[in-house]
Amino acid sequence: MMKPTQRRSRLLALLLALALCLGLMGCAGGNAPGSSTPAPENSSPVPQEPADTVDPNAEIVLAGYRNLAPGEKDGYYCSKILYVWEPLVTQDGSAAPVPCLAESWEMSEDGTRWTFHLRRGVKFHDGGDFNADAVIANFDRMKLGVKSSSFYPLDIDAHYPNLTAYEKVDENTVRLTFSQPAPTQLYNMVNFGSAIYSPACFDEAGDFKGICAGTGPFCIAENKLDEYVLLERFEEYWGEPAKAKTIRVRVIPDADTRFSALKSGEILGVIDLNAIPAALAVELTGDERFALTTTKSTMIRFLTLSGTQAPFNDLRMRQAVSLALRRSEITDGLYYGFGTPTTNILNYATPFYKDIPVEEDLAKAKALAGEVLGDRRVTVTYLYNGAEAAQKGEAELIASWLGEIGIDCRLTPLEYAVMREQLKTGDYGIARMQQGLSNSEPSTIFRRFMLTGGDHNKNYSLGYRSDEVDALMERASSALDMEVRRECYDRIQEISAQELPVVPLFNDVTLMAYSTRLTGYEAKLYGIELPLVAWAQ
């Protein structure tokens, strides 16, 4: 028979365990969005009302894989695609610079001075005026040093190379002075290169003091890190106001979960890089509740070949690899047509892109490889990012084609960080990499991959050297005439396709999916034009 004291002890123990569980469950409840803020009107998992009954001011919920508003410690606070801040210079559909907060500009004859005339009557979200003082304060902030970001580093030296002075000319005019001619400076300033914030929203160290205040058509009403950012229409916006009153952008890291959330109606669209994998996107085709939107991406996928050792230190072997590839089979078979084959190192989203026909010729590839290898076969290590499922299939396809020209590939999946380190050592044969275009001025890409001292040339052990490219880059950098610069860039692209510092595979396509209950959801070079997104009537 159990004694009363023993019974009490057991009861106490059970109560203790129960209290612990309940306490832990409750401790997070106070911070839940559902309790502290109104629940999103359309975040319910249940099927929603028909489109014709939707309140045009109802909240629109979208999702991306990462924090689009990383907050105070990020150099930009949030991504450009949220339309919270605006740059002095933005870009059009062909990636050419067009006015935004700077209404117009002119370059001095010697190319060392740029004068920007600012848009008048523009207000920041905090009520402050946008003027030359605000622009100068933003330059002062950039001058404090590099600020890291989830998007691009905020680095005055990268966006304004050779800048020696910035000054206020009058209330609505600023002037930048460079030590070298900077005829393509506008390209460096596009979007992230000239983001402008209210000087009242950052401190002396240049860090944001709270939610950032830009001039964009949306302001941030709430930012719950790693969960969502809530955007509200800025009623005093200088241009065409945003169509949607509020947009909530959730963070859903897993692509399958994002897809399920879209299909269940929990979210109405996916945005940002890697919005939806091609394999999932094709499942939506034919379903009238959803639509896809695509445009050129600034990302290019390519193979790096270790040019510091045999066999790829021989140009003929690099050319043989390129000729043996069947790029359209990769883009059509593995990426469902969402990709454009290329042999040009430069991404197709810049106006400087030269369309070079893709040459694929197995017989020629065999002949070139035969000249180098003779009757031998060579085994090389093929590195790819193990976290990307499509890269495995891609590697297997490429390995099978290279087998036909005497190259046997040892496929090695690695974590991306480990792979980058391996590339530095040069102890590999082939590696699958990608490169984004930070702005549409292509000199950065050429410099990094093709100049003898270029950082990618060294870090990827490309071993590439071309006196002609070095001379062309030198000529381009001092050319004030854009046509001369274009000629130089055209020639460098031709050389890249012939000498193959890397072996390009395909240009990416930006792919996004959305519910047909929305209108204005159109992919742009960088994100979607959020202010045009609205409920369909």
């Binding site: 106490l12 306490g23 990020d74 959730r250 979960t257 960080a417």
Partner: protein, 315 residues
């Protein structure tokens, strides 16, 4: 040994354990190839220049020798400062505290579900032993143990969120949001608890006190629940308590699938970005939680079972 001394001894033994695991985490981190500054700058597909990487290395103190970096971290950690994340540039302690409630809520739901399901299935299997309920439960628990958590999670989302629309796919916001992640995380633990309980219950039922109770005409269900369960539950309670460590580890994947901003998903990002301060902060915190819960389980076990003594004396 008194309870007070026992607890003090346990708490003091924590210090070298915590120091050891943070050192191990740091050493493994720096041994793994990958430059934290380069990775921090290359988020979003951008490729930083060598100058940008060097500047960030200087800012983060990564240009110092590894022992200096670790000792600096230990020095700051002793005063409660776990350093600053290389990726987010936010204080690690602040990030962990912001995320901890989500993980604790998930763990509590998971433990509760594992406990309820384990008890129910274990008892039901014994009450219906040798017949279809027992066989069905054995098959079910076998299935639960063989399902990888990430796959189970995706299947649950597909069924209950995408197809039926009963529950949300992801995020936080209440019990509805926690149900699928908790089922995913607790499934294997519930199956283990059910099997262990079945086995210990069968052992108890063979003992004379149960035979005597059965001889007095008590129903099988009452015999199992009232008589055998209190004694058979002690090892199950220890198992559930100790499984919390596994759940904290398992939450890394579950949080990522269900978009729960807990410390598990933070650790996953930290590993990918070689974010040593974030990783060490995570290891320190989970180590503290794990050791604390183990201690609590010891105390609960002693209270549940008077036969457990410290130093040969009753508590």
């Amino acid at each position: 040994m008194t309870m007070g001394r026992y607890l003090l001894h346990k708490l003091l033994s924590l210090l070298p354990v915590l120091l050891g695991i943070t050192l191990a985490a740091f050493t493994l981190g720096v041994l793994s190839p990958g430059d934290p500054a380069e990775l921090a700058l290359s988020q979003g597909g951008y490729e930083p220049t060598a100058e940008q990487v060097a500047e960030l290395e200087r800012q983060l103190g990564l240009d110092a020798p590894y022992p200096v970096q670790y000792l600096r971290w230990v020095g700051r950690a002793l005063s409660g400062d776990l350093g600053t994340s290389y990726r987010s540039r936010r204080p690690v302690a602040e990030e962990l505290l912001r995320r901890l409630p989500v993980t604790l809520e998930l763990a509590a739901w998971s433990i509760t579900l594992a406990c309820a399901l384990g008890l129910f299935l274990g008892c039901a299997a014994v009450i219906g032993r040798g017949r279809w309920p027992d066989l069905l439960i054995q098959a079910l628990t076998g299935l639960q143990l063989s399902f990888p958590a990430f796959w189970l999670g995706l299947l649950l989302i597909l069924l209950f969120a995408e197809t039926l629309g009963w529950l949300p796919t992801s995020g936080t916001g209440g019990a509805g949001h926690m149900l699928l992640p908790a089922v995913t995380l607790s499934s294997a633990t519930a199956a283990t608890a059910a099997r262990l309980l079945r086995s210990t219950l069968l052992g108890e039922l063979g003992k004379p006190y149960c035979t005597a109770a059965a001889a007095r005409g008590i129903t099988p269900a009452r015999l199992v629940v009232r008589n055998a369960l209190p004694n058979a539950a002690v090892p199950v309670a220890a198992l559930l308590g100790n499984s919390l460590g596994g759940m904290l580890g398992g939450s890394v994947i579950v949080e990522s699938i269900f978009a729960l901003p807990g410390i598990g998903s933070y650790a996953l990002e930290a590993i990918g970005g070689r974010d040593y301060p974030a990783l060490q902060g995570y290891v320190l915190l989970t180590g503290l939680i794990y050791v604390g819960v183990t201690l609590l389980v010891d105390v609960v076990s002693m209270l549940l079972d008077p036969r457990v003594r410290l130093g040969g004396k009753h508590l």
